[in-house]
């Protein structure tokens, strides 16, 4: 497999070395690695019990494929820590409002309260009434 060559990649990522099992560009074609991991039947049965699902042959194959894809990432050399990236372009900084600055001229508190409560299905002594809900 080709190693990472392009300079712009290197400018972002420092000292990253690829394993030959990891392709240069994203691809749908899975090249079989030397060691293929396979989940044993005993482990599958345990998974069935934990997940309360029936794992048939298709699901087992998909599971094996998923594990093998992840296994390749484990083969990558990450001895130097890989840094996460945030790319903000043409975005700015958060605008700050002064503490005593009013955004809109409110007439007074009573009128605002009226407007806010007018859409409530039920109110009781100016409280909103909500039905009992499941605890967070």
């Amino acid at each position: 497999m080709a190693r990472a060559k392009s300079i712009h990649l290197i400018s972002y990522i420092n000292f990253r070395q690829y394993s030959k099992f990891i392709p240069e560009a994203p691809t749908w074609d899975l090249i079989a690695p030397k060691r293929i991991k396979k989940i044993s039947n005993i482990e599958l049965k345990k998974l069935e019990k934990c997940s309360m699902l029936t794992i048939d042959e298709k699901i087992a194959n998909d599971l094996n494929d998923a594990i093998n894809i992840v296994e390749r990432m484990c083969n990558a050399n990450v001895t130097n820590e890989i840094k996460s990236h945030i790319y903000y372009e043409h975005l700015g900084s958060c605008e700050l409002r002064e503490d005593n600055q009013k955004l809109f001229p409110y007439e007074n508190a009573d009128k605002t309260r009226e407007k806010i409560l007018q859409n409530a299905a039920y109110t009781y002594e100016d409280y909103f009434v909500a039905p009992p809900s499941k605890s967070k």
Partner: protein
Amino acid sequence: MHLTLRLNKSLSQILKNKLKSPEVLSNLNNDELKVKIGLEIHARILSKTKIFCDANCFDLVNTPVNSNVSFFDAALPGTMPSLNRRCVDASLLTALALNCQINSMSFFERKHYFYADLPAGYQITQQKCPIALNGLFKYPVINPKTHKLTYKECKIMRIQLEHDSARTLQIDNLEFKLNDSQKLPRNSVLIDLNRAGMGLMEIVTGPDFEEAFDCYSFARELALVLRSIGTCDAQMGEGGFRVDVNVSVHQMDKSTNPPTVLPGVRVELKNLSSFNAILKGTEYEIRRQKELIRKKEPIRLETRTYDTTNGKTVSLRSKEDQYDYRFMPEPNLLPLIIHSKNLKPHGLKCQNNKELILSEEYLDNLEFYKNHADFCCDLDKVKEEFQNKVLPSQRRNYLVSKYSMTNENAFVFVANNLDHILNELVSTRNKELSHDVLRLYIRVLLTEYLNQVNENNDLDKIDFKVKCNKIESYVELIRNKLISRRISLTFFKKLFELKNIDKMAHELAQEENLFIIRDENLIKKTLEKLSEQNPKAINEYKNKEKKRTKIFDFFVGRVHKELRDVADPELVDHIVQTYLKSLL
């Protein structure tokens, strides 16, 4: 052979019985159980308006229901958040006070959950990259047994900005009609949005605590620090300072070298309404978990609260099903940039201390925002403001260095704000301050005045200067021995009653005739009158030597009672002793 078998059988039976007995069950002693406690503190920011909108947020207690609410708080469609500069400054001041690393760039996320107190269905918080990280806080602990002061340290994992949820009132078994035809469902919840949207700082500590008293001391010191820097009023009763305690007790595996700590179960204590509840609740929870481990019973992953009536923690809800909060970036709030000469955008850290990298274009754009007043949050200005704040540790050091106070006394002074009174008393004194007068001030403030702080609810209504003048006048009376020590406490209490608010100590003493009596003739006459009224006691004094001490005390007590406790105690003792000896 048979005998050996029988012996073995009986031995095994004894062992079995022992296994069932509590002594063997509790063979796990405290050395083999490690306690880990971490705290999450939600401190309400002192500001005029809320964190993401311009609704007022003062005087929460006296404000009518749902009157300090904006359209954003009610999550009406089309409303957008607008970050309050004061809340950012407050969190930076707190970060400086707790010795945290400040992130030059922090982000806001949405934390989703459905509950009636959250109209939008999500809370705006900082999850991945908060405003400050990795702090270290030193707090004093007074040992409850030895009363010695020591200092301990605690790691501050993160400080993040978020907003508060609404206040809910649970209506249980109360049916009321909205109108003639409709009825509300049972267990309905009443919602007051006045509190919704108020700025909060969430301060998360590491699991560094091992004792409940340390948590209590930390919480008290943190409240004092936040009050000192003016970012939070730290009133637990009003919900302005909420402390959640996470307790886990772990078994130690001593077979390895060094011993390893086995995983434990973390139980969260919430809704703790006072510092005492933090202490008692944590103590009970530690005992409960240790007991369960010793009995080999499982500890459930749950949220509990402390029931002050019964003195134990009770389960609120299970945490077995971990809730997925579906964190996502808040799309309506851009990254918060903190500018400073010493703070570079590189070296930005998020949770787990991972480093973030910014693109070059973005770094170039930052220069524009640095010079624009609406976008700039200047850390250097906040640092200047922080230099003018006086932290509790500085106040304690000042008392120790200036007044040669012990560390323990300095701790009590600062915890109860007595140092302001002492400084005022010392500064207004025209004459030179002698060592005796200083000791008297300290003694009066630590005993009589501190008693009043705990008992007198009207003390806050008295002006600070008036308080200092009253204490000064009282100390003058004590110093000149114009008042008996037998009534000093009750006299001080009377001095600080609201009805005597305008009176100084000597005025009150004159009005109520409480000046010390040193008139020997009066005391003798009183004693003679009492001895005529108690001939039996006199006879016993003459004839029974063993009872003389008791009778002496009796006459001393009766003389003081007759003279309303204002007589000079030493003079009374001397006169009674002389009189009784003369009878022999």
